[in-house]
Every structure is written in structure tokens, then in C-alpha cells.
């Protein structure tokens, strides 16, 4: 029972990890909260859902979800972020909120506001590992997450684009003086952020075997907590914090009643912010925030 819960928590945590990374890529580099990430995640999930419902293979669904969310993410960068780059940070946050209102409205109008169910034959395959019964889809969710996080970590730590990204995060003006195109790097950050959010959307669809247009706010807010707990500057922080929160959540539902879980998650987030603002795994000092 406990092991089963742990596996469920891990799967949910994997999805949190991806969305937290989507938030932190934009937040770590531009220190703005992109409130559209939650709805990008939901949108990616619906696109993936449409592909699966057309009986196309899973990898195509995943890629379609990622591509769709990435394209929208770039549009958001161009329309809602770039013109407001030097405004107080609440302004771009609210313009991305405008984008998320539009996205949610479009999805509700196209796919309806009722939850959609995925065809169940996909989910029948289960693997037994001793006492634990793992659905095939849970393995897919966790596997895809590990691959994606690995890819992002490689991109940020080892490639020249990643170096440029870190340089802009450290100091935008100096990076520009050294010949880094800050605009292209910003675009790159939004692109990867969109890809990750889209992938997470497809995966949550696989996890719950269903999707609703309102999933973005609930899980998106939780992912902000995961981002803070893991630290905004280290990719691996989210990989630790995601499963941690996922498991904590599943365990509080199983043993403490479903209603305490938000109290636990956000309480932990505030504690981390106050006691260890750089996140569990360290990173840059976070108290150098921009003024509102």
C-alpha cells in the first residue's frame, strides 16, 4: 500500500517537476512570474489528447503537445513580455495572465468545459513488481520526465546556448556587452519553457486518463511551490522537489485526509522562502529581487 502510494506520488511529482522547470526557466532568467505557464500546460495536454484520440502513437502526441505549447509560448513572449520588459514586474505578470485567460477561453470553446476521458485500452497494461502494481503509463510519465530533465540540464550546463542563458540570468547588461544576444536567449527560455509545459500537459493526461480546462490553475500554483522549494536556479532542485511534493501530497491524502495537503505544500514553500530562499539545492541568492 505504502509502496503503491509512493509510485503514485512519484508520477504526480514528475509532472510537477516539468511544470516547475517551465516556470523557473523564465523566472530564473527574467525574474518574472509567467502566469501563462499553467494554461500552456493545460493547452499542451489538450493537443496531446486530440492526437491520442485520433489513434496516433504516443510519441507523436507528446511531440505535438510540446510543439503547440512552445509556439504559443513564443507568441506570448513576443506580444506580452517583450514590449513590457522594462516595466515593473507586476505588469508583465498581468499581461501573461491576460494570455492565460485567452488560452483557457479558447480551449473551453474548442473542447468544451466538461472533462474528457482518454480511451481506456491504453491504460490496461500493468506491470507487477513484487507487491507494487505499476501502470504502463506511470512508467512512461516518469521515464519521459527523466529524459526531458536530463536534456534540459545538458542544454543549460554544457552547450554554448546554455552558457549564454546562464550569463543573461546572472547579469543581462554584462552578457550583452560580451556579445550575447539577450533577445534570442529570452526567446530560447520561453521556447524551452513552453516545450516542458506542453510535455507535462500530455503526461498529466496520461496520469489521470482525463483532462479538464481547469487543471492549469490548480497544478500550476502547486508547481510554483515546487519551483521555490527546489530553488529557481538549479535544474536538479526541481527534480528533487517535484517528487518530494508529489509524494507528500499523495501520502497526506492517503493518511491525513485530502484537505490538509495544500496546507502542507504551501506551508513548506513559505518555510523554504524564509529559511532557505535559495531552495533546497542552493543556487543564487534570491533576495536580490527587482522592485515591484
Amino acid at each position: 500500500m505504502l509502496l503503491q502510494q509512493l509510485v503514485n506520488g512519484l508520477t504526480l511529482g514528475a509532472v510537477y517537476t516539468l511544470i516547475a522547470l517551465a516556470f523557473s526557466l523564465v523566472m530564473g532568467i527574467l525574474s518574472i512570474l509567467n502566469l501563462a505557464v499553467g494554461e500552456l500546460f493545460m493547452f499542451g495536454g489538450y493537443v496531446g489528447f486530440a492526437v491520442i484520440a485520433a489513434y496516433l502513437p504516443l510519441p507523436i502526441a507528446l511531440l505535438a503537445g510540446m510543439a503547440a505549447a512552445a509556439v504559443v509560448s513564443i507568441v506570448i513572449q513576443k506580444i506580452a513580455y517583450e514590449p513590457l520588459r522594462d516595466a515593473p514586474l507586476v505588469t508583465p505578470m498581468l499581461s501573461t495572465l491576460g494570455c492565460s485567460i485567452i488560452l483557457q477561453n479558447v480551449v473551453t470553446n474548442v473542447w468544451g468545459s466538461d472533462p474528457l476521458q482518454l480511451p481506456t485500452e491504453l491504460f490496461d497494461t500493468r506491470v507487477s513488481l513484487g507487491p507494487v502494481n505499476i501502470g504502463m503509463m506511470q512508467i512512461v510519465v516518469i521515464g519521459v520526465t527523466i529524459v526531458l530533465v536530463g536534456a534540459v540540464a545538458y542544454l543549460i550546463q554544457k552547450t554554448s546556448a546554455g552558457r549564454a542563458l546562464r550569463a543573461v540570468a546572472e547579469n543581462r547588461d554584462v552578457a550583452r556587452l560580451l556579445g550575447v544576444s539577450a533577445n534570442r536567449i529570452t526567446l530560447l527560455a520561453f521556447l524551452i519553457s513552453g516545450c516542458l509545459a506542453g510535455a507535462a500537459g500530455v503526461l498529466i493526461g496520461l496520469h489521470y486518463a482525463a483532462i479538464t480546462p481547469y487543471i492549469g490553475v490548480d497544478i500550476g500554483l502547486k508547481a510554483i511551490a515546487v519551483m521555490v522549494i527546489g530553488g529557481t536556479t538549479r535544474v536538479w532542485g526541481a527534480l528533487l522537489a517535484g517528487p518530494l511534493i508529489g509524494i507528500a501530497e499523495v501520502l497526506t491524502i492517503a493518511y491525513g485526509g485530502s484537505q490538509v495537503r495544500d496546507l502542507v505544500v504551501y506551508g513548506l514553500m513559505i518555510l523554504i522562502l524564509l529559511l532557505r530562499p535559495q531552495g533546497l539545492l542552493g543556487g543564487a541568492r534570491s533576495d536580490i529581487g527587482q522592485r515591484v
Binding site: 523566472m27 525574474s31 518574472i32 512570474l33 506580444i79 506580452a80 514590449p83 513590457l84 516595466a87 514586474l89 507586476v90 505588469t91 505578470m93 498581468l94 499581461s95 495572465l97 491576460g98 494570455c99 492565460s100 485567460i101 485567452i102 483557457q104 477561453n105 479558447v106 473551453t108 470553446n109 490553475v217 500554483l221 510554483i224 511551490a225 521555490v228 485526509g257 484537505q259 490538509v260 495537503r261 495544500d262 496546507l263 504551501y266 506551508g267 514553500m269 513559505i270 522562502l273 524564509l274 530562499p277 534570491s286 533576495d287 536580490i288 529581487g289 527587482q290 522592485r291 515591484v292
Partner: protein, 278 residues
């Protein structure tokens, strides 16, 4: 006035108070995304006092405001350690914690909500809203407000010239929380039914949106912002299913063209001097 119009005006009044609660805290350079939490506290405290202890509404509101402002001050102290977006995220967490606390608070209904309040008149709501707006307009002419703006513009410099920045910032949280609590108490006695979901993240965001849309440098901006947020979706009804998308588009357009908000001091001066520049 039709019930429909009265309902809209009541919504504007309550949203105006919520927006002002954000405006007060924002004036010291702190962004709060958790004011719906203070609103929830005010709403539950006021309802408890009027329903269970049979208090009249006005003292209940004042008691609710006081208790929320104590919590606001308690929140304000740790908030001193955080700046910018991290403070915003922490207050977001606070708001969600309050919501989930009331979800677990079975003495007052938990997730099932709470009812039994007496309906309150539109005039009463607006007496509070106008009163607080007037109070803030007077405050804006005071030395205290100058100190708040100084902390907003440059906290280090404000500290160096001898201003007590800690008191200013924490005090702003306490005052803002009190105003949000009054909004909550009025909300509870207007809808006569409350549930924790009324005080979630969307509500906090609505408050911030009203301030930023209307203009974050003048108190009257919150009034314009609150009116727009309540009335725009109504005016856009002819778009049926697409009105929220239109609302989002308009929101982005306003932010792109007037990032300081629709109302600001130059515009106000222009309006009051009939076109002549001050």
C-alpha cells in the same frame, strides 16, 4: 435600480475595497498576491460574530478588520526578508493556506460553506467603500504617504534619511489586511453565503488587476479598475462564449498602451484643469 444593477454595483464596491487593500501594500513597494486570504479571514470572522454572537454588522466588521490586521502584521514581519517576486510568491502561498485552512475548519462548514448572514444594503457597502477611498485620498496628501512612497522608490535611501522602513512596510500590511477584511465582511453579508473557494488565487489576482489596470499611483485608479473588471465582461456579453478571450485581449492592450494604468497623476491633473496642463 434593478436587482441586476444593484448586484453589479455591490460587486464594484467590494472589489474596490479589495483593490485598495492591494494598493496600500503596493504603495510601499510590496506586491501581495494573497489579499484574498485576508478577505477570507475578515469574511469568516464577521460572519461568525453576526450569526453566532448576534453582533450588529458594523462592530463585527471593525472587529474583523482588527483581527485581520493583526494577522497582516504577523505576515508583514517575515515578508520583510523577501523582495519583489519572491514576496509575491510567499503571499500567494499565504492566501492558499488560508483558503485551505477554512476548507478544513469544520466549525464553520468547511468545504460546505457557511450561511445565515443578513443581507446588507447596497448603500451600506458603498458607505464603507467610499469612506475608505476618501480616507486614502486624504492619506495621499499626508506626510505618512510621502514616507510610504519613499520606501517604495528606494528603501535604502529612505532608511538612511531616518525613516522607519520596517514600521512603514509592516504597517502597510496591517492596514491593507484590515481593508481586505472589510471587503470580505461585506462580501459575506451581500452574498449571505461564503465558501473557501470564494477566497482563492483568482480573487487575489482580481484585486491586483484592478489596481494595475486603473492606475497604481492614484487611489482613484482602483475605482476605475474595479468598475472595469466588473462591467467589461457584462458589456462584452454580445460575444457570448468569447467574452473572456476579448477581456484578456483588452487587458493586454491596456497594459501595452498604458503600462502605468489608465489613470495617473498627469491625466488626473489634465481632467481637473479642463485640458490645461498644470
Amino acid at each position: 435600480m434593478s436587482t441586476y444593477c444593484a448586484g453589479l454595483f455591490a460587486d464594484i464596491g467590494i472589489l474596490l475595497l479589495g483593490a485598495l487593500s492591494v494598493y496600500i501594500i503596493l504603495a510601499t513597494g510590496q506586491l501581495s498576491l494573497g489579499n484574498a486570504g485576508f478577505m477570507g479571514i475578515g469574511s469568516y470572522v464577521a460572519s461568525y460574530l453576526t450569526v453566532e454572537l448576534h453582533w450588529p454588522l458594523t462592530p463585527a466588521l471593525i472587529a474583523a478588520a482588527l483581527s485581520a490586521s493583526i494577522i497582516g502584521i504577523i505576515v508583514g514581519f517575515p515578508a520583510l526578508r523577501l523582495k519583489g517576486i519572491y514576496l509575491a510568491i510567499a503571499t500567494l502561498g499565504f492566501g492558499e493556506m488560508v483558503r485551505s485552512f477554512f476548507l478544513n475548519f469544520s466549525h464553520m462548514g468547511g468545504s460546505g460553506g457557511y450561511h445565515g448572514m443578513q443581507h446588507v444594503s447596497l448603500g451600506y457597502i458603498w458607505a464603507w467603500a467610499a469612506g475608505i477611498l476618501l480616507l486614502l485620498t486624504l492619506l495621499e496628501r499626508s506626510r505618512l504617504w510621502l514616507e510610504m512612497r519613499a520606501v517604495h522608490d528606494d528603501e535604502t535611501a529612505a532608511g538612511l534619511i531616518g525613516l522607519n522602513t520596517t514600521a512603514t512596510k509592516v504597517g502597510a500590511f496591517g492596514f491593507g489586511a484590515a481593508v481586505a477584511a472589510i471587503a470580505g465582511g461585506l462580501f459575506a453579508h451581500h452574498y449571505v453565503y461564503i465558501e473557501p473557494a470564494n477566497f482563492g488565487f483568482e480573487r487575489s489576482i482580481d484585486f491586483v488587476l484592478a489596481v494595475i489596470l486603473g492606475g497604481s499611483t492614484v487611489g482613484a485608479g482602483a475605482l476605475l479598475g474595479a468598475a472595469l473588471i466588473v462591467l467589461l465582461p457584462e458589456w462584452l456579453r454580445f460575444l457570448a462564449d468569447w467574452r473572456l478571450a476579448a477581456f484578456g485581449t483588452l487587458l493586454i492592450l491596456v497594459l501595452l498602451t498604458r503600462r502605468q494604468g489608465i489613470l495617473d497623476r498627469p491625466l488626473l491633473a489634465k481632467l481637473s484643469f479642463r485640458g490645461k496642463s498644470p
